[in-house]
Amino acid sequence: VSATRPPSASAASSLESLLAAKEIVVCCGSGGVGKTSVAAAAALGAATRLGGRVLVVTIDPARRLATALGLDGLGNQAHQVPPELLKAAGVDPRGELWAAMLDTKQSWDDLVLRHAPDEESAYRILDNRLYHNLTARFVQSHDYIAMERLYEIHASGEYDLIVVDTPPTRHAVDFLDAPSRMAEFFGGRLLRWLTLPYRVGGKRGTRVLGVASRPFYQVADRILGSRFLEEIAVFFLNFQSMYAGFVARARAVERLLHDRRTTFAVVTTLEAAPLHEAERFCEGLLERDLHLGALVLNKTLPDYLLDPAGAACASVFVDDAGLLADELTRLDDPRLSDPARTARVLRTVGESFRNFSVVALREAELRAELARVPDVVARVPTLEADVGDLDALVAIERHLFA
């Protein structure tokens, strides 16, 4: 129980102290901001700096990152990133880094098998084509199952810290409500109403005229046809056997997200749209009384692009390229022997600096406008190469914990 821990109000001043005080970190943010790499780097940092067993659960890592973590072809099963690989990448972990991928389909199947009263009922659900559609396409399905897996892993007590990546959603805040929506969905009156004509008939599929003549069934019948409607009802009747367990579980998942051992890290780039989404997400967390632990500004341009001395120098490169090129011929470097070429390169270099400075300035302005920021704000500069191996992950980790 969390009562023995210090209250989360005692603000963590660094990512390291934040992770030391928590057991679960949920990384969220809009698509394309690098959530997965940040989650993996945070877990790596915790394993290295704090020790213990640290697990990162990723949703859909880039293939090369998956390979780097040894996740190729592994489903839900967690496995340890070999310490020798980490050593080769220049880190000496005090603890263990574990990694797992989220297999949505497998997780749903596990959930059904766990909550169905018997195996036969379980397979009646698993074989239903509506079940496949529901789990594959229902908007909240991926969100919910990610949180459900998190609960499962946390309850296993096998890890000191779990860092979880979240699936891309239309609105990043959506998944915060996934457990309660799931409970509402499966326990709701609407569902009971929908299956009503099939339940009161005594025998499954026998419709009672009195109920079926109500406007809803008339409309639904005209649009979808009664056979399809019946299929839906039968599916939910089967699902009903799991309600109690399912709803209880969704509530438990929700409690876990609110637990003071859980914190959220919002990841964003310094671009208008993702940043806007990140701000809304921070507000969403506070509205729901969830713990906003850290904001990670990812893939930002380096500060030296804002250096006034750099801007002055870039102007000289562009304006006096010819003079500088003549001067450089003195060095007797064959690569600098053609002043025309040297001047062209100097101008290009100067212009490129100016170009990137403009973007860096835009980023700085967006950063300054950030309204609500948590105590921990980490900045990770854009890396020259992709995050395709442990070396790159280590580079992110160093900035994250700087």
Binding site: G32, F185, C313, V349
Partner: protein
């Protein structure tokens, strides 16, 4: 190199999909600008309804009812519930369901649970607007869609077929036929994928193009590669750049231009490295996808909003030979 379909902008339904964060909304809005500049009346549909599309024109969020966001461009946000109500009103001559609250909620519930229903309410509304345009009954000539991201677009395009597999009778079955036909007509529809030259967007684009070919009949238009960094140096110039970074030259430059020389050279090095990494991904895309590629350069500007939309429109216009 494959050129863009010459009639791309003459089609009546232009859908833009792609991974989140690649600039789909900007590309869709820029296409709308191009079409409006050519005198076409555009309906711009935002499927994710986040307000990103009107933001490209610096206008507040729009609803299901289209509103002008720019001369010649009206925008609307998709809303499956409103779409269902409109469908019932128009096709089944049923009264507006808004007054029958629980009924609407129950239908929304079925729509959520049953495969293809939400998708058909989205794509069906879009197809309906296209058909109205084709038959000259609409206030627009062409429909441009800031479509769902990679995961959902295949389901949306295939929704008509999904529904037909499930529902064996009734008006829905008949009405999904024309939707499917319209989406599959290469004279009417083009699905384009927006991407950036980065690892994940390129991987998703390759996978999406393959899935669209295998699972949906919709004709593919082009791949729009957004945020392409400029190539700074030719090979010979690259050597000169290396020489500038050597200690001797760096000293000369610092002497003439002050302490900022290192920052300027580092900046160029970063630019070269980023371009090189992205060029590899672009090469991968070129090798794996046999669709015309349209390049939009990375924009080094402070502004966002309409000015950026115009710049992207100009770049697209050039790529399309306008």
């Amino acid at each position: 190199v494959i050129g863009p379909p010459p009639d791309l902008l003459d089609r009546r339904l232009l859908l833009f999909t792609g991974k989140g964060g690649v600039g789909k909304s900007t590309v869709a809005a820029a296409t709308a600008l191009l079409l409006a500049a050519a005198g076409r009346r555009v309906l711009l549909v935002e499927v994710d309804a986040k307000g990103d599309v009107p933001a490209q024109f610096e206008r507040p969020a729009v609803g299901f009812e289209p509103r002008e966001v720019h001369p010649g461009v009206r925008a609307m946000a998709m809303d499956t519930e409103a779409s269902l109500q409109e469908y019932l009103r128009l096709n089944l001559r049923l009264p507006v369901l808004g007054r029958v609250g629980p009924l609407a909620r129950a239908l929304d519930f079925v729509a959520t649970a049953a495969p293809g229903v939400k998708e058909i309410l989205t794509i069906g509304k879009i197809a309906w607007e296209v058909r109205e345009a084709l038959e000259g009954r609409a206030d627009h000539d062409v429909v441009v869609v800031d479509a769902a991201a990679t995961g959902h677009i295949v389901a949306q395009l295939g929704a008509a077929d999904t529904i037909r597999e499930l529902v064996d009778v009734g008006p829905v079955r008949a009405q999904t036929q024309w939707v499917a036909d319209l989406l599959a007509d290469p004279a009417v529809t083009a699905v384009s994928v927006v991407t950036t030259p980065e690892e994940m967007p390129v991987a998703e684009t390759i996978e999406l193009v393959a899935r669209l070919r295998a699972e949906a009949r919709a004709p593919l238009g082009a791949v729009v590669v957004n945020r392409v960094l400029p190539e700074l140096f030719t090979h010979a110039d690259d050597e000169t750049f290396e020489a500038l970074r050597a200690p001797g030259a760096a000293q000369v430059l610092a002497g003439s231009c002050g302490p900022g020389a290192t920052a300027v050279l580092d900046g160029a090095r970063l630019a070269v490295a980023l371009r090189r990494t992205r060029a590899e991904h672009l090469g991968h895309l070129l090798a794996e996808v046999d669709l015309p590629l349209l390049y939009v350069p990375y924009l080094f500007v402070r502004a966002h909003g309409l000015r950026v939309t115009r710049m992207v429109a100009d770049a697209l216009g050039q790529e399309l030979g306008l």
